[in-house]
């Protein structure tokens, strides 16, 4: 499965709810829209994301981090950046579930 998270983890339970449903090793996580704030260095979700990236691939959507002024070097390590075409490819590979 591809877990698409589109709400800010600071104001919504979307990330936490999704984490309960992520199959370790198999599933992939994609942060889009305000969901990308979870992957910012120095934020409150650093620990949670670090744990997540140990067993699962975590992607951030390029257009959404750029719009919000988050530079590549402000993202946590092991977070991968993809564009909309990469997004499409992830949906080809995995069945999507959106958490908002």
């Amino acid at each position: 499965m591809l877990h698409i998270i589109k709400k800010s983890p600071y104001e919504s339970s979307a990330l936490n709810d999704a984490v309960n449903y992520i199959n370790q090793n198999d599933d992939v996580v994609l942060l889009i829209e305000d969901g990308i704030y979870a992957a910012k260095k120095g934020g409150k979700f650093e620990e949670l994301l670090k744990n997540l990236t140990q067993k699962n691939s975590v992607y951030c959507l390029l257009a959404d981090i750029k719009a919000r002024g988050i530079q590549e070097n402000e993202l946590l390590e092991n977070i991968k950046i993809i564009d909309y075409k990469g997004f499409v490819e992830k949906v080809v590979e995995h069945n999507p579930m959106t958490w908002s």
Partner: protein, 116 residues
């Protein structure tokens, strides 16, 4: 691959329509097929034909017309639409109004159903 798209949030207020639009354009560029876009909940408002956004902003009505010209079916749920004032007189020429059965058809006919 065949994609179905479900949009649940209203235009401009949420980013859902914008994310979906960019996803659809990328999918078509990669040679995939969009079986249809279904608008439900507040999402039906995206198909309103009377939007007049400021000129220096993207025009979601025009974006939908563009998708429709590329042959993509845009379907607004009749019941969700009526509740919110989307009726035959106000729906965009880019979209059609139909029932929830169309959403299930999308689930059946698409390889993937993605929700925005």
């Amino acid at each position: 691959m065949k994609f179905g798209v479900l949009i649940k949030d209203g235009q401009y207020t949420h980013q859902a329509m914008d994310s979906a639009y960019n996803f659809i354009v990328a999918a078509m560029e990669l040679g995939h097929e969009i079986k249809g876009v279904f608008f439900y909940n507040e999402g039906v408002c995206n198909t309103c034909g009377t939007m007049e956004p400021p000129r220096d902003e993207r025009n979601i009505r025009n974006l939908l017309l563009g998708l429709n010209e590329k042959g993509i079916r845009l379907i607004a749920c009749v019941a969700a639409g009526k509740r919110r004032g989307l009726v035959a007189q106000t729906v965009s020429s880019a979209a059609e109004i139909s029932g929830l059965g169309q959403l299930l058809e999308l689930c059946i006919e698409s390889d993937r159903l993605i929700t925005f």
